[in-house]
Symmetry: C2
Amino acid sequence: MLKIALAQMEVRAGQPDINLEKMLKFIEDAKREESDMIVFPYMAVLSDIFDSTVINPSLSRDCESCNEDILKASEGITVLFSNFVDNLFFAAKNGKWIDSSDSYELFKIRMKGKRYKIVYTFENAEYIADLKFREKNPDFCVVFSSAPFVQCTTKGRDYHIGEHTKALGCPTIYVNCVGTQNKGKTIYPFDGNSTVYNSKGEIVLRGKSFEESLLLFDLGTVDSMPPIVEPEEPEIAEVYRALHGGLKHFLSQIGMKKMVIGISGGIDSAVDAALYTKVLGAENVLLVNMPSVYNSATTKGLSEQLAKNLGCNYMVVPIQESVDYTVRQLESTPVTYLADGSTHNIELSSFVRENIQARDRSSRVLAALAASFGGGFTCNANKAETTIGYATMYGDCAGVVSALADLWKYQVYDLARYLNDTVYGREVIPQGIIDIVPSAELSTAQNVDEGKGDPLKYPYHDYLFRAFVENEDQVTPEEILQWYADGKLEENIGCEKGLVKKYFANAEEFINDLERWWNQFTGIAVAKRIQAPPIIAVTAHAFGSDYFEAQGCTYYSRAYKALKAKLLEGTK
Amino acid sequence: MLKIALAQMEVRAGQPDINLEKMLKFIEDAKREESDMIVFPYMAVLSDIFDSTVINPSLSRDCESCNEDILKASEGITVLFSNFVDNLFFAAKNGKWIDSSDSYELFKIRMKGKRYKIVYTFENAEYIADLKFREKNPDFCVVFSSAPFVQCTTKGRDYHIGEHTKALGCPTIYVNCVGTQNKGKTIYPFDGNSTVYNSKGEIVLRGKSFEESLLLFDLGTVDSMPPIVEPEEPEIAEVYRALHGGLKHFLSQIGMKKMVIGISGGIDSAVDAALYTKVLGAENVLLVNMPSVYNSATTKGLSEQLAKNLGCNYMVVPIQESVDYTVRQLESTPVTYLADGSTHNIELSSFVRENIQARDRSSRVLAALAASFGGGFTCNANKAETTIGYATMYGDCAGVVSALADLWKYQVYDLARYLNDTVYGREVIPQGIIDIVPSAELSTAQNVDEGKGDPLKYPYHDYLFRAFVENEDQVTPEEILQWYADGKLEENIGCEKGLVKKYFANAEEFINDLERWWNQFTGIAVAKRIQAPPIIAVTAHAFGSDYFEAQGCTYYSRAYKALKAKLLEGTK
């Protein structure tokens, strides 16, 4: 009978005061539950901090002070934790440090009259304990973790730890934090999913993902507990939990309780509306529809229906008068060239007029409303748009945070269906929004009632862009064009068969499309991403702080140019 | 007689095609000048690339192809260069690779009937050649460099290389590139300043800073050339050249030839106007004054005077009507809470109204004008404002690039005087702009004619913020408050004596001010910097890609809180 408590706690980055308070509360709870031992996630006192500017001598001293407080709190219990002090690992019992390590990563401790040999390791789930410890016959293994969520990590983690645990031949306790950490432009949710594995490496206990909890179990019964069979679920379920948990913790961390969302009647803003309403509550969400003359009755109606379904705050702020005023004012104000006194007038192209609409919505309306409503406003961009910068700076690519910018368009649709079917259990996102052609409705060329919309053919471009951004082999136009020439493109990028032929009549059309987007991806889109809001990361390839890119580096290789010349020659 | 050419070339990041063409041209020029040898900067083919997304198999293959082209071009000359291939260093002569290295960093080559022993090293000016090579009696040393400018580097470099060269006992050839490289949010100018040091470590030849040039010299005469005595100049001179060179190369790299600048009659926008006019030419600069009812006749007049002095394009676009429209529209449009059908109206605070003005200027007027004028618009923020986020998102902290955001306010004034006195040699920035109180003129509380302005007391806050940002010891409120208590604050942060007493009547006032700005620096200002434009870096502590920071990490240490309590106790 050894009662162990796993403290799956939210760790606040760089905040030892808040984390200590939380740890002391968890210790109290564990004592109340008569636990013999409590284990905390990796770096629970400080967090596995991403912000190097925070680390300074005064902070280090505070981390040391926290150790003393935890030591005092260990009266009547054994506390295992790690801290940003000395050797990172600490074990306290009855107000005393236990220092009986045979070696780094193996220590012995007497609890309830028995001496336990414990193997421990930090963080990285891929190498848990060294298998040489098998000879020492450890009683159990502890993995102190601080592991951000990326899609499918839990499965990978279970596999690795499971295999190691089996080889080690004793139960493993994996304890991970929840919450978020951010590197400025990228926000990483931490999934928790703390787990107890039996000696065969099977899962016998699991903490809820993205929620704090104190997991209790008896070490003696681990190998007789039935393995947990987790229900099959679609991939998007895990992504939903990551976005929900990530937003909840991040917004709480920056003290933001309310959110304004511009809703267009399109899919991205609708999904954001449903997501934020779950995170913040309908009373804390203000949905704003901002029609111009180009917005159809269809999308205006769908926006209103969405707002009604969610029961949020709602308002309609038309932008046409303001846009017209801007166009009139700028075109009628003369520019004087003071070197010679000549004057001329500026002319606004249709492209400039489109961008004026987008900025009017975000920078004029939403930004002012957000401050007055007492919160921020969202950026609703998805990953396809973000990849090639199909968005207006200070317009639709503005906002406090981008919840969907690590999701391809097809994932946004998956998420819409998941929100309706599973999260809400009813049609909060009107089916019309799911069915309508994606369109920015910035001109008559994007008339949704005529089936016209964005220049992106998502069923193909989602996959082309995914090859640019997420392929470990760093795919460039050279590979894409070679695959096209070899007839292997659809297979290699993973899109539906037949699309290339459907969308492009010949090599010239294909190449024009490829170069258009590659130029944007490595050109203007980089400039836009530099000033874009932070993104909730759900993959290991999220744009932002860990995606290193520079302006002005668009490049086509010699082999690309040669193949292009050959293919274009062939079409003439 | 060994004629050596130093190719101080602009290296374009990740563009082997452009760089190769440039290298071949330099080789031709060197041959025309009858040089025996030409030396290129570090990684001249690819650049010492900052953008890891660019590096992929197809790029590597192109780098290898470039080697072959350079080899061919070496007919009649010896070419020393480095490339992103194999062992980085290459020597080609008469179409053949020279492979006679004794060891890494030492090789022999026969030129004009004599065998030369050459020591070489890469990039980092702090360790040039290993001094063990002294025993080998090298003929000269080559430092292949790709070193970004930060203030005072040239002096430090001269000292280090000079000392090493003296110890090595042979001349050193230091060759550096010009141009810029960017890491997304940070733009680093490369200063060139290629140098030939004689055997005593004295400078005998120097390339112009921030400009391409082919430097020619005869190795045999190096030790008999007179050492160069460079004229003393103010620190701001070097900063001006870095900003000028950085802007010129960066704008050319992203293909931007024209710029719109909002000018308020204040110092920051005036300095930017004078700077960009030098970089792009007056005909390519459009200055825009955008007054509201809060803008004084004084600043409107100063703006016009500035524009006249520079001879740029100029226009006045008043914003009051548009701002009034926005306030009226948003306050009169009802919000419906759809959960219960209740309605209410939003109220815009004076703070929100101030921000509406700032966004109206940048996101409504400047963004549209920039696109129509055929360029971008500038962000005129300085480092003090950037540190604590004294700027409006999508308002004055928007733009293509921030030229002044690595300069404290006092440096902006230094630069203004330098532009007038030295660069232009006449008063282009009206003295009135230099003399007026700094003010955003967003409300009656900032009336410049009554001497009212920004909440920042620059003569003190410039130095307080510099301690937060640029001090290697990572100064936090704990140290600041301790210095205040010890009466050593002014001395330790470097501001004028007597200011603390002048600005703060007691400890409470001092602490309120300190916490106000520390909260902003580590709070909302981080959110603003995440979405701010890229910054031209002139220090090693520029905000941006190399300044790692996260949102939600504001912290006060235990010692700070204790000292604060003690000091406040003392004042009661």
